[in-house]
C-alpha cells in the first residue's frame, strides 16, 4: 500500500468515525406536548385566509348585484317621473 492509499484510508476512517459521532449525537428531539397541542388549537382557531377570501368575494359579488339593482330601480323611477311630467304637460290645457 503506497502513501497515497494509506492517506485515503486514514481519511475514510476519520470520516466514518465522524459520521458515527454525528449519527449518535444529532438525534431527533421531541417537542413539548403542551407546545404541540397549544399550537394545534391556535391553528384551528385562526381564521383561515382561504375562507376569508371566499367570504370577501361573496360580499363583493353581493354588493355588485345590489348596486346594479339599485341603479335599475333609480333609472326606472327617473324615467317614470319624466314620462309622467311629459304626459302632464300634454294634458294641461293652454290658455
Amino acid at each position: 500500500m503506497n502513501i497515497k492509499e494509506q492517506f485515503v484510508n486514514v481519511s475514510r476512517d476519520q470520516m466514518g468515525k465522524l459520521e458515527t459521532k454525528l449519527n449518535g449525537l444529532l438525534k431527533p428531539i421531541a417537542p413539548r406536548q403542551e407546545f404541540v397541542s397549544t399550537l394545534r388549537d391556535r391553528i384551528h382557531v385562526t381564521q383561515n385566509p382561504a375562507l376569508i377570501d371566499r367570504f370577501t368575494n361573496i360580499q363583493f359579488i353581493l354588493m355588485m348585484v345590489l348596486g346594479v339593482i339599485s341603479g335599475v330601480v333609480l333609472v326606472s323611477m327617473g324615467a317614470r317621473v319624466l314620462v309622467n311630467l311629459l304626459s302632464f304637460k300634454k294634458k294641461t290645457p293652454s290658455f
Binding site: L26, P28, I29, R40, N48, P49, A50, R54
Partner: protein, 185 residues
C-alpha cells in the same frame, strides 16, 4: 402516506379545510421543530419559529402549487427563511448563553442518558453553528431527519450530485474544526 393522498389533503387544506391542514400540521410539526431547534440551538426560539412557520404556511397554503417540489420542501424553505431572519435579528442583539438553554430530551432516551449526551452535543452543535447555513441544513436534514441526498437536494435547490459533494466538503471542514478544538471523543 402515498403522495396522491397528500395531494388530496393539500387540495382540501388550500380550500380552507382546517382538518386537512391539521393533518399536515401533525405530520410535519416534529420535523420542522427539530430542524429549527438544531439551527437555533434554543428550545424557546425553536418553538416560536415553528409556530410562525405553520402560521405562514396556513396563510399561504392557497398559493401553494405542486411544481415537483414536495410540500415538506416548501415548509422547510419557510423555516429556513425564518431562521435566517432570526440569525440576522439576533446578530443585532445580545446572545443567549448556552447555560440558559433548558435540557431537552431525545426521543426514546432515558433522562440520565440525555444528561451524558448534553455536553458533547453542545460542543458539537457549537462547531456545526460555525458552518455556513447550507452546510448546517445539510447535516441536520441528513442526520436528524435521515433524508436522502435527493430529498435534501429538493429542499436546498441543488442536484443530488451537488449535495453529495457538499456533504463531503462539510465533513472535511468539520473534521478540521474538531482537530483544532479539544472536544468530543
Amino acid at each position: 402516506m402515498p403522495d396522491s393522498d397528500e395531494n388530496e389533503i393539500l387540495a382540501k387544506a388550500s380550500q380552507g379545510d382546517r382538518d386537512a391542514f391539521g393533518y399536515l400540521y401533525e405530520r410535519y410539526v416534529e420535523r420542522i421543530f427539530n430542524y429549527v431547534y438544531y439551527r437555533t440551538g434554543n428550545v424557546h426560539d425553536a418553538e416560536d419559529i415553528t409556530a410562525r412557520v405553520f402560521y405562514r404556511a396556513l396563510h399561504h397554503i392557497h398559493n401553494y402549487r405542486d411544481r415537483g417540489v414536495p410540500f415538506s420542501a416548501w415548509l422547510y424553505r419557510i423555516a429556513h427563511n425564518l431562521v435566517a431572519n432570526w440569525h440576522r435579528d439576533r446578530s443585532r442583539k445580545q446572545e443567549i448563553p448556552l447555560t440558559e438553554v433548558p435540557t431537552i430530551r431525545y426521543k426514546g432516551d432515558a433522562p440520565e442518558q440525555t444528561l451524558l449526551y448534553s455536553e458533547e452535543r453542545e460542543n458539537l452543535l457549537h462547531l456545526i453553528h460555525k458552518l455556513s447555513p447550507d452546510r448546517q441544513n445539510l447535516l441536520i436534514l441528513k442526520f436528524v431527519e435521515h433524508m436522502s441526498n435527493a430529498e435534501i437536494g429538493q429542499i436546498l435547490g441543488r442536484s443530488e450530485g451537488a449535495v453529495k459533494s457538499l456533504y463531503h466538503r462539510t465533513l472535511l471542514s468539520l473534521r478540521d474544526e474538531i482537530g483544532e478544538e479539544p472536544v468530543v471523543e
